[in-house]
């Protein structure tokens, strides 16, 4: 058995992670204006991600640019929504306010929660995730669609990279191009890359169909998931956490 599968066996059942990600991201949407509650939720989310074994170093490498962008978005959000005590004012314009910073931090935490919830799935193989989806009664066609879609993104990126390399080999120095020319270059590149990806997707669909995909309403599964006692305990914990958060939000208990 490979290392990857052995690791999968030690992980909680993917259905536990589905429940956890659903609860965390739902509360991330529902919570408004309560920064401390959002910070608490983020802490819980990070703790869960660490326990599941999310590789944060790899995540940082992959999402560094996106996180930088999110930080800029939240700073802008804080600048354009001033309220409360003014911390910095230039030429009569409120640049930084306590309320603005709170709003910016809330946006950042909300997006961070979505990313952390999604990151938990990276610990599982696609097959395990598909099986999890199928066993929570999601139609298997949809589960496979998700899995094929997930594969499609890196393939698209790979093809774009290849096309860029091909262009560079023909003497185009992309770094030296002006923004306008760079943008028009990308528009020329994107079309063939999309066409090629569509072709690959079509070939994949033909191969799947010839191997009887969607032949029957249901399908059997060689691999089956079963909830261990520890999974049931975790599901109970998630339920208790949901009730607690619900009470805090509905009753408005100010625990912080």
């Amino acid at each position: 058995m490979t290392r990857k599968l052995q690791r999968t066996v030690r992980l909680p059942d993917p259905r536990v992670v589905f429940a956890l990600a659903f609860v965390l991201s739902s509360f991330a949407v529902v919570i408004r204006g309560n920064l401390w509650l959002m910070i608490g939720l983020m802490a819980v989310s990070l703790l869960c991600a660490v326990c599941i074994g999310v590789d944060f170093r790899q995540m940082w490498r992959r999402l560094r640019r996106l996180l930088q962008l999110l930080l800029i978005v939240s700073i802008l959000r804080s600048v354009f929504a001033p309220s409360g005590t003014i911390l910095l004012e230039l030429w009569g314009v409120q640049i930084l306010t306590v309320g603005g910073i709170q709003i910016g931090a809330l946006v950042l935490l909300r997006l961070g929660l979505f990313i952390t919830s999604g990151a938990m799935f990276t610990c599982y193989s696609v097959r395990v995730l598909i099986q999890g989806m199928v066993q929570i009664k999601m139609p298997y066609e949809l589960a496979y669609m998700v899995s094929v879609g997930v594969r499609f993104i890196p393939q698209l990126a790979e093809e774009l990279k290849d096309s860029l390399t091909a262009l560079q080999l023909r003497g185009v120095v992309i770094e030296e191009l002006k923004l306008k020319k760079k943008l028009s270059l990308y528009t020329y590149l994107i079309l063939p890359v999309i066409v090629s990806s569509m072709q690959n997707a079509k070939e994949l669909a033909m191969s799947m169909e010839m191997r009887a995909f969607r032949a029957e309403r249901n399908r059997t599964s060689f691999y089956a998931l079963s909830l261990k006692p520890s999974d049931i305990v975790m599901l109970c914990g998630i339920l208790a956490f949901t009730i607690l958060m619900g009470v805090i939000l509905i009753v408005g208990v100010d625990i912080f």
């Binding site: 058995m1 490979t2 990857k4 599968l5 193989s125 696609v126 097959r127 899995s147 094929v148 594969r151 690959n200 079509k202 070939e203 994949l204 669909a205 033909m206 191969s207 799947m208 169909e209 010839m210 191997r211 009887a212 995909f213 969607r214 032949a215 029957e216 249901n218 399908r219 059997t220 599964s221 060689f222 691999y223 089956a224």
Partner: protein
């Protein structure tokens, strides 16, 4: 007994006509090789035999394709998969699972094979294609020839009555071609009905009949 019968098949993509009034008969146990230059309609013929044209592939089509006496278009997806297995050119677009085992199990799961039977078929296919040691490996870790053998194992797991090869060796290196040719020869010696298309002479030694398109 006739495995495949193609009657006056014509296929065109818009104004571009690929096949005109083409007829072919493949008997059970035969290994027919169709040769011809690129663009002459070899792959189109196999797609039509599989029932992918018309339907999955947009093309205008006339004529009839019968598989074991029944029109291919009237066969259900499951029935078609049990009668016809096809290995396409590019292994990259035929493999989509995390492990070789999952890849072989995929088709069997689709036709609702019980788990014990599935386990038996997977073991059998891994042995047949000599990829037992890669059972839990990801297809990404394999060479082109090994990947194509995985595709063959996944296709053969459904125990198709006819094996179709659409330039199955064209994207492989010399070693990969050798490995796969050996596999096809073995299947041929076991009496497997085969219809192969290729633009060069790679599969001539396996064929019992050669048709030039």
């Amino acid at each position: 007994m006739t495995a495949i019968e193609v009657r006056n098949l014509s296929v065109s993509y818009g104004e571009y006509s690929v096949l005109r009034d083409f007829s072919l008969t493949v008997e059970v146990g035969e290994a027919v090789l169709i040769q011809g230059p690129s663009g002459c309609g070899k792959s189109t013929l196999l797609h039509a035999i599989c029932g992918l044209i018309p339907g999955v592939i947009d093309a205008e089509c006339s004529g009839e394709v019968l598989v074991f006496g029944e029109l291919v278009q009237t066969l259900s997806v499951a029935e078609r998969a049990k009668r016809l297995g096809i290995v396409f050119q590019n292994p990259e677009t035929q493999l989509f699972c995390d492990s070789i085992e999952d890849e072989i199990a995929f088709g069997l799961e689709n036709i609702c094979t019980p788990r014990d039977e599935m386990a038996r078929r997977i073991d059998e296919m891994l042995k047949l294609t000599d990829i037992e040691k890669y059972r839990f490996a990801s297809p990404k870790e394999l060479s082109g020839g090994q990947k194509q053998r995985v595709v063959l194992a996944a296709v053969m797991a459904l125990d198709p009555k006819v094996l179709l090869l659409d330039e199955a060796l064209s994207q492989l290196d010399r070693r990969g071609k050798g490995m796969l040719r050996e596999q096809f020869s073995q299947l041929r010696s076991e009496g497997c009905t085969m219809l192969m298309v290729d633009h060069d002479d790679e599969l001539v030694s396996i064929a019992s009949r050669i048709i030039n398109l």
